[in-house]
């Protein structure tokens, strides 16, 4: 039977095609072609890949016992999972964020969808296991995929215990973190000496310091890199949101500023994953847009950095 195209069918099809072209994310998970596949990054030395965009929970998930806000953050997490995200990073330092994450995971029954990463944040180096156990209870996960020493606090003792925990199968990966450019020299020394799966550091289109030493060192040593503060704590949006995207933004797979900032980061060959934080579903959708489509090459990355500096 001939499939006749009526005027009505034509208009509906044209409209859907227009929406699809304008909003690639809308159809991101519904087809198997390359354009809609999430950008995955292999964990160095492992047969496992993770999505290049994860999420942080600093400030955004610290909402205490506010039921209304817990439900709202649960919707943010659901959006993250629905759009292909898995890596969620937290810390005992972030107030109630761990409890809120636990509640949200329970609500979504999503414990098997998460790559759970948290930190050890205590000066007492004998408390590593106890703090990891507390965090496990709060998140409602049996074990963490990744445990990191937060800002190198008591790192010697914690790292030794974390190595034992990894050997015993109590955690899958271990690492160390820094942020805001703190203690990079000591950070590099630890990367050189210790056997680490991941490091977490601050990197964004304005904060480039890690390009000189830490990112090349991570590549050389086969260490995965998680990038925090990709939006410089939101200040990149405050500074540049009102500016136009460059007219060549489409060439680098970018349709908004969130994608611009994130694709700049995850296109660095040393970077495994960036972890932007947000409290809004709409912003989460924008962030996850960076998980799809084209990535800038080295020349285009330079052009992106130059463009931001010129504003």
């Amino acid at each position: 039977m001939a499939n006749r195209i009526t005027r009505r069918k034509f208009l509906i099809s044209s409209g859907l095609a227009g929406i699809a072209l304008k909003s690639p994310m809308l159809f991101a998970n519904t087809s198997g072609n390359a354009a809609s596949s999430p950008i995955m990054r292999r964990i160095p030395g492992m047969d496992e890949s993770i999505p290049a965009i994860g999420m942080g929970t600093w400030i955004t998930f610290n909402v205490g016992g506010d039921t209304q806000l817990v439900q709202q953050r649960t919707r943010v997490l659901k959006t993250f999972f629905d759009l292909g995200g898995t890596v969620v990073d937290g810390s005992p330092m972030y107030g109630s964020a761990a409890d809120v994450m636990g509640e949200a995971l329970d609500s979504l029954d999503a414990h098997d969808r998460i790559f759970a990463a948290t930190k050890i944040w205590t000066g007492d180096e004998s408390e590593t296991r106890a703090e990891a156990a507390r965090s496990s209870r709060r998140w409602g996960v049996e074990r963490f995929d990744l445990l990191q020493v937060h800002n190198l606090l008591g790192w010697q003792g914690h790292l030794e215990t974390l190595k034992q925990m990894k050997a015993n199968g109590e955690v899958r990966y271990i690492g160390i973190t820094t942020s805001h450019g703190r203690r990079h020299r000591e950070f590099a020394q630890i990367m050189e000496r210790e056997s680490l799966d991941f490091v977490q550091l601050t990197y964004n289109v304005l904060d480039h310091e890690v390009e000189d030493r830490l990112l090349p060192l991570a590549q050389e040593r086969g260490i995965g890199v998680i990038v925090n503060r990709p939006f410089q704590g939101g200040s990149l949006f405050r500074r540049f949101q009102s500016e136009p995207l460059p007219n060549w933004a489409g060439e680098v797979g970018v349709s908004n500023w969130a994608e611009f900032f994130l694709k700049y980061i995850i296109s660095h060959p040393a970077v495994t994953c960036a972890i932007p934080a947000t409290s809004k579903v709409e912003h989460m959708k924008e962030n996850m847009g960076a998980l799809y489509g084209a990535l800038p090459n080295a020349g285009q990355r330079q052009r992106m950095a130059d463009y931001v500096r010129s504003l």
């Binding site: 400030i59 610290n62 909402v63 972030y94 107030g95």
Partner: protein, 225 residues
């Protein structure tokens, strides 16, 4: 953590929540307490009346109500609501409870003056504080349910409590002052980071009212003590 480590942190690193979450605390505690905050309003209006009446019992009742306000706002708001998102708030919460106990101890130990207060100025300042400061959270949040009432919200309670310096004597006054100053500095820094400009008025007012309370204090010569 070493001193150098602490110095590498900025003020922003210690404020781990956003302004929306903080302002929702006022809405939530008002919703949870309703209608009992009417008692707080009655107490706020009744305290200056009691303070201005001659007689030991009226003044003791007024000071006792302020002591209860310190303790309730500390345990209720700071420990119960604010603590889960900001751990230093728990310390301040218990310090507020201790401040209430201190005030009660002063009341029973002769640490409260019985001399007459300059009524007009005291009542005017008190009413400005308990009727005006609650609206700062409303102005900041845009929600009238965020009223920061005396006896419930720590900022308004501390500001009104600062004025009571007028009736506290000698060493009790020196014990009473540190929390007022520390809370003002802590909350001012927090509101600055949150860019909650309206709320900044409360800690500034508290420090001003410490001075005003001292100024309104009956001179020793006038006191029967």
């Amino acid at each position: 953590m070493s001193g150098a480590d602490w110095l590498s942190y900025s003020l922003q690193d210690f404020v781990m929540f956003g302004p929306q979450v903080f302002l929702r605390l006022f809405v939530r505690i008002n919703q949870d307490l309703w209608p009992w905050q009417v008692l707080a309003v009655v107490a706020a209006i009744g305290i200056p009346v009691l303070l201005l009446r001659q007689g030991r019992n009226a003044r003791r009742l007024a000071v006792g109500l302020i002591a209860v306000a310190w303790a309730v706002s500390g345990y209720g708001f700071l420990v119960g609501y604010f603590g889960p998102i900001n751990w230093p708030a728990v310390w301040f919460g218990w310090a507020f409870v201790a401040q209430g106990v201190l005030l009660a101890a002063a009341m029973f130990s002769g640490g409260v003056r019985e001399a007459a207060l300059p009524s007009g100025r005291f009542v005017a300042l008190w009413l400005i504080v308990v009727c005006g400061l609650p609206w700062l959270a409303v102005a900041e949040s845009g929600q009238w349910q965020a009223l920061a009432l005396f006896g419930i919200a720590p900022g308004t309670t501390a500001a009104a409590g600062a004025l009571i310096v007028a009736v506290i004597t000698g060493p009790w006054r020196w014990l009473y002052l540190p929390l007022l100053v520390l809370w003002s500095l802590f909350s001012a820094a927090m509101f600055w980071v949150l860019q909650a400009w309206w709320l900044l008025v409360a800690p500034v007012a508290t420090l001003f009212l410490v001075g005003a309370g001292s100024w309104l204090s009956p001179r020793t010569a006038q006191s029967p003590d």
